[in-house]
Structures are given as structure tokens and as C-alpha cells.
Symmetry: C2
Subunit: 559 residues, 2 copies
């Protein structure tokens, strides 16, 4: 990212376009950069063994001193999760966010021993913050987490409205509606550029209010004569409030299960976002002394995560919590794309334990936090922007959102379906896309950040699909005699117990011996070539016999 001329606004995303997660955007004017969000992404199936994915911020290398601030829209992982990993490399910017967002961030930073180092400034809705040459004004955005905001960002050449993740919930649990009044005022003031959430652009009509979930809970829970387990996202404080309220009115005490659930409930209660009386909570010991119909367990693990408490409960592997015939389990959560099979397995296993299970597909016990088409149309009509850039969504969502914007009257050439890294350059004269900056994904594996790349993933995929065969061979370099080997070991390739399979490995060994016979080993000048030939011979043999391609690693020692 180069220093731009002072009349030009340059806006580009480091992550979050054409993908779900890893939201991060840089807005530059007169050499100064404002960052919005700094999220992570959870790995896709092909990223084997990867724990987390971060945006690649190398395009900001050398620009750290120009970064004025990092502003956060809300506290979901895909908006704040990369901060502990990237904050130092970003030049340790001050972070601006609302109360709960900072609360969640602080707890995250604590794990990295950064909480006392990061300057955190709490912002309030409708209160402007001067971040020269920008001025930001957060406005309320209802979402599946409490205390979310969108941002009005005033720049010398005009007003940017960034919705953040939002929906227009007409009856939010905390009474904090998406600030349609301010959106309308921005529209009157004149919006240069609208950035809006595209996640649910495929859904017609309106997204249901969070409050409707309570009705579903009020139908299911009183019917249950035994224990009730409700799994949901630990960040969905409104959902937790509603579950707790229905539990209380049904004379059920709360057992909280799952590390992040315990932590987030604690933070939200301390900050006043969650109102549950202390005496409502019980621990495992209390639970044992209560009849099952007086217990409700709130837990994480709604995505069928293999190591989660809920999966262990479903498999009968949990030490303290055992399901009984007649227990009720409610998955008050979305089937996140990519997790469908794991969630389906979870549900099947819960049924095997004798529980009755309620989930998104069969009951209305979850609503989305993102705006559907009619809500998006309303925001477009209120703000009437000159330029539009859809954000937060896979590529098809961005395309469909741009189509919707055009239906709402924005010229096609003023809609920008953009990939990560392409800067949108806006001047008084017009807007266009600039040259792509470096962007990408940085993998976190264990404690390693960025030390696993595309090549390691390719090798992991190869190993995963075909396993591995090691050929060991020791040769006396001067005599050309084989000192030891050839021997073959395999892992993940074939069961070595059976005669038939041993025969395969014997045959493979023979193929290597034949190859070596053809060579005068004392005259080998190019050992790398021999290695290549051995590998080829083995590959041919395995392909012919079993049509498989294990990774072949010849370990040839020249002594």
C-alpha cells in the first residue's frame, strides 16, 4: 500500500471479501490509515491440522506509523480474533470499540498477556470520535451479539457508512434497535460509499427477531419432564439471556458448561449486559442433588466439535454429565456451512442416548443475526449512497448484493464487487479499482504462526489420502555394496498384517533390488538421480498393483 495523494480515498480489505471470516479493512486518506476490524477465520477442510487463519498484513509493512487506530464493529471472532496475533505487527495501534466488545477482547488479550499493553478506548453509539483525518460515529446495529455497531466514517471527501454485521430486529431483546434514524440522517447528509453486510442476501423477506426464539423455547422446555440441555454460541448474550429467563420461569437452575460459555457469561454479567441472578447458577455437585426437571444446562459444542463437552455427552464419554432417556437437547444455533455432517452425527448420537433433540431443521430455535433482502433494501433506500461495495460474504453473496443494489437504483458502474486486496480508489471525480496489494492467509498451527504454508498443506493432503512408504537403504560408497536394506516401512498405506499385503511390499522391495542390480552402485555419480529412480520404481509398482500413490521417501545412506 503506497502513500496516496491527499485528494484520494483508498479503501481496501485484507480479508472478508469472497470468504466468511477474517474481516479486516484499511481506509487511507492523506497518508493516514484507519483499520476496521481484525478478525480470524476458522480453517476449511483442506487446511488440515490448521487451528486458525489470519489475514496477511504484509501490505501494511512499513506503514505502521501511519495507522491511526483500529476500530471494531463487534466482538465476534471473525472481527476481533486476529488482534492478539497481529497487534504488535500493526505497530500497536489504539483500539476503539464498545463496552462488551472491549470486554471480550480484553479476556482474549489476557491469554496472550497483552491486556495491560493494548490501549483500549470505549466508544458510544451516536458519539463522534475524532481520528484525524477521519471522524467516526458508531451507530447501533442489532446482531447476534450484544453491543454491535456500524460505523459512519467521515472523510474529507465524503461520508462512508459501514453497516458492520447487522439485521433490522424490530424487537431486539435489549430494546437496542438498529439505528434507522441515524441511517436516514446519513442519507440526507449524503453518503459517498455504503459498505453493507451481504451474508444473508440469498434470503427473501425479513430475518426473524431474536425474540421469536424465546417463544420456541417456551414451547419446548415446559414439555420436558427431565433434564434440558441447550447448546448455543457463547457470544450470543441475548440468546443466553432468553434461555436463562425461560429456565427461571420453569423453575430450572442453570449449569454452565464450556470454557468460553463460562467466560463470556462472566464478562457479560460483570458489564451489565446479562441479567441472571447469582442463585440461578448451580455447579455439577448441586446438579446431582436436584431432580432432573429442575436443571437446564447451557453448553457450547453446537457445531459438533469432536472434543466438545456436548459431543462427549452424546458419545457417553463425559465424566460428569450423562444423558438419560427422555432428556431434551436443544441446538439453538446455526448449522455453519462445512459443519453439517459433524452436527448431524452429533444429533444422531444424542438420539442414541435416548434424548429428544430440537434443532434448526425441525424447530424454530435459532434465528440469524444477518439482514435478509428486504432489510438490505431498506438500508439502501435510507442511505442512498453514490457508491456501493458489498462486504462480508462469499463471492456469490457479493454479486447478488450488487444486483440488489442495482435494483434499488445504483448504477452498475458505481457498484464494486471486489476481491480482497484490490483498493477502491475514490476521488471527487469518480471511483475505480486500483492494483492488487498483497493479501492472503496466514495459518496458525499450535504455537506456530505462518510456519505452515501451501506446500506443507499439499504434503499433508497427500499423506492423508495415500499414506507414506519409506525406503531405507545403506550403501558403502567405495565398494558399492549394499550394507543394509532395502527395507520398506509404511504408515497409513496398507495393513501389513495380511499375507497378501506383505506380498505387495515384498514385490515393491524386489522392484528396488532389480533397479539397484541394473546400476553399478560404486559408480553412481548422481545420488539424487538414484533417489528419483527408486521413487519411480516404487511408484510404478504401487500404481500397477493397488492403484495408489503413497508419498515415497527414500532414505539412502552413503557410508
Amino acid at each position: 500500500m503506497s502513500t496516496e495523494t491527499s485528494e484520494q480515498l483508498s479503501l481496501y480489505t485484507l480479508g472478508g471479501l469472497g470468504e466468511i471470516g477474517m474481516n479486516m479493512m484499511a481506509i487511507e486518506y492523506a497518508g493516514k490509515i484507519l483499520l476496521v476490524d481484525c478478525g480470524l477465520m476458522f480453517p476449511e477442510a483442506y487446511m488440515m491440522g490448521i487451528d486458525l487463519v489470519l489475514p496477511d498484513i504484509s501490505s501494511l509493512e512499513g506503514r505502521q506509523d501511519d495507522i491511526i487506530a483500529l476500530v471494531l464493529t463487534h466482538g465476534h471472532e471473525d472481527h476481533i480474533g486476529a488482534i492478539p496475533f497481529l497487534w504488535r505487527d500493526l505497530g500497536e495501534p489504539a483500539i476503539y470499540a464498545t463496552g462488551l466488545t472491549l470486554g471480550l477482547l480484553r479476556s482474549k488479550l489476557k491469554e496472550f498477556e497483552l491486556d495491560s499493553k493494548v490501549p483500549m478506548i470505549e466508544i458510544q453509539t451516536r458519539q463522534k470520535v475524532d481520528l484525524f483525518p477521519f471522524e467516526i460515529e458508531p451507530f447501533r446495529a442489532a446482531h447476534s451479539i450484544v453491543d454491535g455497531v456500524g460505523l459512519a466514517i467521515r472523510t474529507p471527501i465524503g461520508l462512508i457508512v459501514h453497516t458492520g454485521d447487522f439485521k433490522i430486529d424490530q424487537t431486539p431483546v435489549d430494546g437496542q434497535n438498529t439505528d434507522l434514524a441515524r441511517l436516514a440522517e446519513f442519507g440526507e447528509e449524503g453518503v459517498l460509499l455504503l459498505l453493507a453486510d451481504s451474508t444473508n442476501v440469498e434470503n427473501d423477506g425479513y430475518t426473524l427477531s431474536e425474540r421469536t426464539v424465546k417463544k420456541a423455547l417456551e414451547e419446548i422446555i415446559p414439555q420436558s419432564v427431565k433434564r434440558v440441555v441447550v447448546a448455543t454460541f457463547s457470544s450470543n448474550i441475548h440468546r443466553i439471556q432468553q434461555i436463562a429467563d425461560v429456565a427461571a420461569s420453569n423453575n430450572r437452575k442453570l449449569l454452565i458448561n464450556g470454557r468460553s460459555m463460562v467466560a463470556n457469561i462472566d464478562i457479560a454479567r460483570k458489564l451489565g449486559y446479562l441479567k441472571i441472578a447469582e442463585e440461578q447458577f448451580i455447579d455439577l455437585r448441586d446438579m446431582r442433588s436436584l431432580p432432573p426437571e429442575e436443571v437446564l444446562i447451557i453448553t457450547t459444542g453446537s457445531q459438533g466439535e469432536p472434543l466438545s463437552a456436548l459431543m462427549r455427552i452424546a458419545l457417553g464419554d463425559h465424566k460428569q454429565i450423562e444423558l438419560e432417556r427422555g432428556d431434551t437437547v436443544i441446538l439453538s444455533s446455526k448449522f455453519i456451512p462445512g459443519n453439517e455432517k459433524a452436527i448431524s452425527d452429533l444429533i444422531n448420537n444424542l438420539y442414541r442416548r435416548g434424548a429428544e433433540v430440537f434443532y434448526e431443521k425441525t424447530s424454530e430455535i435459532h434465528v440469524s443475526g444477518h439482514a435478509s433482502r428486504e432489510e438490505l433494501k431498506l438500508v439502501h433506500n435510507l442511505t442512498r449512497p453514490k457508491y456501493f461495495m458489498p462486504v462480508h460474504g462469499e463471492y456469490r453473496h457479493l454479486v447478488k448484493h450488487a444486483q440488489l443494489a442495482q435494483e434499488m437504483g445504483i448504477d452498475a458502474e458505481n457498484c464494486f464487487v471486489v476481491d480482497n486486496g484490490y483498493p477502491l480508489l475514490i476521488t471527487a471525480e469518480g471511483a475505480e479499482l486500483g492494483e492488487k496489494c498483497e493479501t492472503g492467509r496466514v495459518f496458525v498451527d499450535g504455537k506456530g504462526v505462518g510456519d505452515v504454508g501451501a506446500m506443507q498443506l499439499r504434503d499433508r493432503r497427500h499423506l492423508a489420502n495415500h499414506g507414506l512408504v519409506i525406503l531405507m537403504l545403506a550403501i558403502n560408497q567405495s565398494t558399492g555394496k549394499i550394507v543394509q536394506g532395502p527395507e520398506l516401512f509404511s504408515k497409513g498405506f496398507i495393513e501389513e498384517e495380511s499375507e497378501e499385503n506383505n506380498a505387495l511390499l515384498d514385490e515393491a522391495k524386489q522392484a528396488v533390488c532389480d533397479l539397484l542390480d541394473e546400476h553399478s552402485l560404486d559408480a553412481v555419480s548422481d545420488w539424487e538421480e538414484l533417489r528419483v529412480e527408486v521413487r519411480k520404481a516404487l511408484r510404478r509398482c504401487f500404481n500397477k498393483k493397488v492403484a495408489r500413490r503413497p508419498l515415497i521417501l527414500p532414505v539412502i545412506l552413503q557410508l
Copy 2:
């Protein structure tokens, strides 16, 4: 499976209960066994590198002479796909099926050079076949493949009705309705046991008629001013018929793409199940000379299979077919659970090429082939069985179907939610579950059948998630001197280019050296123990430094 007493009917599934796919059932009376279906399953994500999954038939070992016949309900892979692999081990039974099912099976057997060896007998709906001590009567079952049947199986102690996969399509494309009249007559006759499809028990109401898809096609295709690509399942002959009909009425010629699509269209046309005039078809060369608005491509690849032609088209990698802005792609297919992410990627990539894409989520261009709850209720009411056993479904589907049966008036103790391998034993006195027989899954990987087992899959998973580190060390056994090494190679573990990572491997090497210094290598008596200790030292080092657990393979040569 042991020989049962003559008054007892024993019925057990080798696959298809508590899972989708691999449908296979054995029905035994007086020592004689009738097999129904012999399907395969496509691998789940954790079965890395596996191509196909077959039912384990070892419980039929030694009973081959007692197998009277294998009867097939329809031609889907999950009902016929295991036959080429298992037919010989089943004692080469005669196979009974309807015309198209045999046509599809024959083409499959041809690949295995078995087509001339397997006795295949065509059956007709409403025509009884004597398979003493059983008598089977196929009845029409509408489904997402042509020529499907359910089976009435008469046994000396009563009538079994097996629906096969079915829906009650009131307006099937070929006019072949599910035979409600015969089902009603079976009910009047008295049904001992009903086995019914549970796949869609979570869906309220009725499954839409296959014919409704045509309406959606008739809306989308005329609007398209450029090329149209329709992806669907190659076995869905009715769907292909409807696509071809709409293409014809819109003056579009057909290019058929995908090996199975070409093969199945050929078989279905030869057998008279598909009516498309020869002049409707074009090849790639013809396509180039036609304007895009006169072309419709029917293709496989609707599940986002990485190597499919459609995915290559979407990625711009296909040699002959290139998408242009304004082309239309229709995925007239289900998002099969587990494939959602791949299909989503496919759609995003099609949008990146500039195509407009229609799919299940946004348009009604697919209907299911399985009965919803109201249809199931109708079948229960018509047949009024004494006993009920839900089949074809994951565990939760079986439970919910049993609940539905109880709502329809069957006693809970007469409903059997059964796992694979548990025989349902029925006599004149009553019914109960017997002891579990051996069942399981046999993996096909390349040409190997059953040579990859649980241990190889565990190793593959470990390699996939963490990669591999090989330690090479050669020791002179008599002197105890290290002749070569220690050296470390890694695959899929860490990028070895950077200094930092090399430092990690150097440190690991040092840890091994330290360990070796502690030992008098000339006095090592237990080399296996040394190997274990080396592995431990490396594991500790990697865990401490990067919190990762690569598979560690010490190759220690004693020379």
C-alpha cells in the same frame, strides 16, 4: 448368521441403518436367505483417501449355498454399487431386478468383466416371482430414478412390505405412480412387517412432484440469452428427460458431458426409458459452430467434486468449455450432506466466471425422491402392519419414523429402531431383536479392497493434521560410534526455508544428540527402547516449541 428354526423369520441389515448408503438386507427362513439390495456408501470426511465403502459380509461366510437370490429395488449406487465387489463372495447368486436397474448394473459389471457371468433376471411390477420359501412381488415405487420398485415378500409366517426408496408422486413424469392400490391390497391381506424409507421423515407435508422441476426450468431457460449448463445426477432419467424437453422447446441442442451422464443416457435411451431424438445431440465441435443461445449442456459434477468437468469449468481450467459473462448454470440437484462447502465453492467460482447460477437454495430446481411425513402416514395407514422397522436413514430418522408410526397407532413395542447387524426375529408368537452379527465397513482404496483399515485411517489422520518428521541415524554397533546423522527430514510439518524454522529442527537435532550422549551406544541392548526414547525427546521438543505433534519416525541403522 446361524441357521434358524423353521418357524422363525430372521431379518437383518448388513448396511443402511443409522447411515445413508450401503443398503443391504438379509431375510432368512428355514435356512434359506434372500438378499435385498447390495449398495455402497461414499466415504465420509474422516475416511481419508478412501474411494468407496462396502458392507462387511463376513457374517454370511459359509452360508453362500443358502442364498437363493439377490433382489434389487432400484439402480442407485447405494443399492447396487457393491455388487461387482461382493458378488463372488456371496456365492454368485442370481440377481433379480427391473429393466433399467439391470441395464445400469450390466454396465457396471462390464467394467469388472463380470457382465457375462452374473445371472440377471428381469422382474415386472405386479408379477410374482417364486423364490422358495419366499415369494416376491415387486410394486411400483416412484423415486428419483426410473423403474424403482418396492417389494412385497411373502413368507410362510406372513407378508413383509419393503417400500424401497420412494415418494408418492401424484404426477410422475412417466405416469408410473407409486402403486397405492397394491399397498392397500397388502393392507387388506394383512402385513406382518413394514420396512419403510425414513430419509425425509424430518420434512412435513408432501414432497413435490418431479414434474414441478420442469416449471422452474421453463422459467429460467427462456430468460437466458446465452449458454445454459444444467448439472444433475446422471441416474435421474426423469430429470434428464425434462431438461431435454425444455431444451428442445427452446431451440437448444444438447451437449452431454461427464462419463456417467453419457453412459446412463445411452442405456436409458436404448431401453426406452428416455426419449430424446438423435438429432438433438451435438458434440463439442458442433457446439463451437452454434450460437450460445442454441446450446444446453447437461453435465455431472453437481456436488462440487474437485475433478469434475463442472468444477474445472468453474475454475476456468476446462480445455473445451469456457463460461462467458451472461451464461446460466443450473444445479438441478440436492446439496448432499457433507458436500455443502464444496458446492458452495463451486457456485462462488461459477459467479467469478460471470455466470448466473440457480441452485436449490435460491430456486425450485430440485425436488427430493423421498417421501415426506404425510406420504409416510399414508403408507402406514394403507398397510397397517403388525410390526414396523424404519429403514434407510441416519439414526435420528429411524427414531423419528418410529415415533411417526406410533402416532399412526402401532404399539411402541412393535416398532424396532435397529442398528446394522441386529437380527429382527419374528415368529407367530412375537418379535424381538437377536444377538448382533458381525457387520461393518470395508474400504476400497484404488484397487485394494479391505487392505486399509482403522489403523491406517488413524495414521492418515495423524499425518494429515501434523505431518511427519523422520530421524535418520546410523550407528556402528560394535564401536558405538555414530556413523551418520542424526538428521531430520520433515514433510507437511513446517516450512524449512526460514531461519526460525531451521532453528527449530536444529534444536530438535540437538535434543537427540543430548539423549545419545547420555547413552553408551556400544552398550545399548534394547534398540527398540532407544527408538522410543528418541521419539519421546523429539515429541517433547516439538510440543514445547510449537505445540504440535508430528508423526515421528526414527530410522536407526545398526551397522
